[in-house]
């Protein structure tokens, strides 16, 4: 059963957060191990597995990029594992420039601006991905997902950089 089906949701990129939460809570009301404490061992084991699967579905579908990568895998587009070579020269160039820019940031405001630019790009790429998925354009899907995953990592790096600057800088 795929993650969408497990939560009784339509497999779509634009998932409403409130609807996801509602479906998730309903599934956990049914399967959470807390509801099986006094049940026989087999039922407990089953519930635990179901609850784990529901949690996996929820954490995957909750984040837009993770959801996009998952939708890609449902369309048969597999992503390379971490640390594998990326065959997109433009993306590599972009990544190098972004990182350089981030490393040179001395002010928190500059870091925030970079993060905000990355978030805008993510939104644009996600919008484009919708069309590629519709037309099952595997090449374009893969390329977009790679970009999205890179952008997400970059956002994480801006977060780390921000914390570093806050620690070093004067108390705010």
């Amino acid at each position: 059963m795929d993650h969408f089906a497990r939560l009784g949701l339509e497999a779509t990129l634009e998932l409403d957060g409130a609807a996801l939460d509602k479906a998730y809570f309903a599934a956990q009301r049914r399967w959470h191990p807390d509801r099986f404490v006094t049940r026989p061992a087999e039922e407990r084991a089953r519930a635990s597995l179901e609850a784990a699967a529901v949690n996996d579905a929820y954490r995957t579908l909750r984040e837009p990029v993770a959801r996009a990568v998952y939708l890609g895998s449902l369309s048969g587009v597999e992503m390379p594992g971490d640390g594998r070579t990326i065959d997109d020269p433009d993306l590599l160039m972009q990544a190098m420039e972004d990182r350089e820019e981030l490393a040179e940031c001395a002010a928190i405001e500059r870091v925030d601006a970079l993060a905000s630019r990355a978030r805008d790009t993510i939104a644009r790429e996600l919008a484009a991905l919708g069309g590629f998925l519709l037309h099952d354009d595997k090449g374009a899907i893969r390329k977009t997902l790679l970009r999205l995953r890179y952008l997400e990592k970059f956002l994480e790096e801006t977060r780390a950089r921000r914390i570093n600057l806050e620690r070093v800088g004067p108390a705010r």
Binding site: F25, Q28, R29, H32, P33, D34, R35, V37, T38, P40, A41, E42, R44, A45, S48, L49, A51, A52, A53, N55, D56, Y58, R59, R159, I163
Partner: protein, 631 residues
Amino acid sequence: MTLLQIHEPGETPLPHEGEAALAVGIDLGTTNSVVAFARQSKPAALHDETGRAMVPSVVAWDEVGRAIVGEPARAILADTPDRAVASVKRLMGRGLADVTAIAGVLPYKIESGAGAHDMVRVVAGGRARSPVEISAEILRTLKLRAEAALEKPVERAVVTVPAYFDDAARTATRDAARLAGLEVLRLVNEPTAAALAYGLDRGAEGLYAVYDLGGGTFDFSLLHLEKGVFQVLATGGDTALGGDDFDRLIAERMLSERKHDGLGDVLDTATVKKALLLARQMKEQLSERDQTSGRLDLAGKPSFHALTRGDFEALIAPLVARTVEIARSVLLDAGKVPADVAGVVLVGGSTRTLLVRQAVDAAFGRPPLTDIDPDEVVALGAALQAEALTGGSDSLLLDVNPLSLGLETMGGVVEKIVPRNTPVPVQLAQEFTTYQDGQTAMSIHVVQGEREMAGDCRSLARFELTGIPPMTAGAARIRVVFAVDADSLLTVSASERTTGIEQRVEVKPSYGIDHDEMADMLHAGLDHAEDDMMARLLAESRVDASRALLALDGALAADGDLLSATEKSEIDTAAARLRAAVAADDRNEIGAAAEALETLSKTFAERRMDRGIRRALSGLSVGELERRVGT
């Protein structure tokens, strides 16, 4: 027992009897502990004859080695510090390296653990004792208090732990409860329990933060509350930051003042305990007035020390700043800003400190909610959850895994498998491969923590996956599965995937306690136990023995052919002895017979493990494997 490890996780061969027994909620705190009971969603803390709900988490031992817990033990701590132990929670699941010294001297007399088990032992009352054993004394007292108040046997409990407790400390807590004769229905995180009590009481909805500063630990959790759902979004903390550290700073200041005045103190555990006790009194006084003073008498040389609130706040400011920094990073983890938070609930006795309240107020731009007793709210939440688990309820607690779990890979780098703040229970897998041609074994090192290098994280377990069919480097597909249960306890299993057969290896944390140690402690505790205690222990060893026998029967049926006729008959004889012991009333004989059987069947268990692995990995020829990998 060795044979038991072959069972599927979560599977209990014998269903637990006595479903009618009551279930309570227990807050096992660093400084104080509380037991509470809920009826129809109305929780109440259980009091002693004098009306006190809090039991000081202090254990002392009398001349004959009998344990004394609570207020009387605290009195002993002041007079004869060698016979008492306080703040034992800080040592749960800890090694010597984790323990903070005061002026180079620990307030505990400590021995490092024996053998592979690194958990420290505390020397008090003339004997080395495990923190698990000492915590069990506190839990036993709480259990007795509950039974006296409710006039019924109490055998099950929800026990709270700091959200930021790691796997080892959680396991240690569960073991302590078991030792005290309590089945742990669930380990609930302290801030989550507090939110449950608070939310159900006030009908709160929206995003709430729980700031929990106790005697020894700090937790900060962010929860989404909505119509009976308590969803933890993110949590963070420090298991070595609490009111004890405030005391330590005051004590260090007094000791350095004495040194300055030429009172050459020779510091030992007893003097340090004395200084800490005085420091604590002074700290508590400063919650109500602007200045205080104390008289410290060490080795007949008294000294007087004045402390203003300003002095105190200057001492603790860095620690308070650290809690605010943790709170900020938890908000960041959840993608929230302070303005999103509808209310901040204060939990733990140390939140009475004015500087703490001011800091929270400043960080969130609103005064924190303090109208629920911060000392009792955690136990009340635990009691509500105990009722929900045994009697059914509409509320739903969705908690997260507090610390990332991962594996050490090439070069000591950590590969995270279950990131922090993942909702539990959860089961996540990752595939690894061999890096040398013909490699047949892979060592697996499980770590917990946020750092990049394995050496900087807590090591939970190491095991060797052997019997991998020789292949070219990178061809094998080793799948490692991390299963985290609703108590945030981890089970790791590994299998070579090309064969399609699962092989499970249950992993115990390095700081956990094995069955033999547990049995030793039960024996030691027996010497001075009450009669009802004896009865319960006997019942427990019967259950354990019956489980072992059941496991043995299964193992013999499946793999009996691994034994020679002599070995088989030896095991049969030992099993018959254990069966006879279970039918009789001598617990020591059950223990001895179980141990004898365990020793005899060790080789058998090892052979079974080997066979299991070989079966899992040798189902196919190498040629076939390569073809499959190639597709």
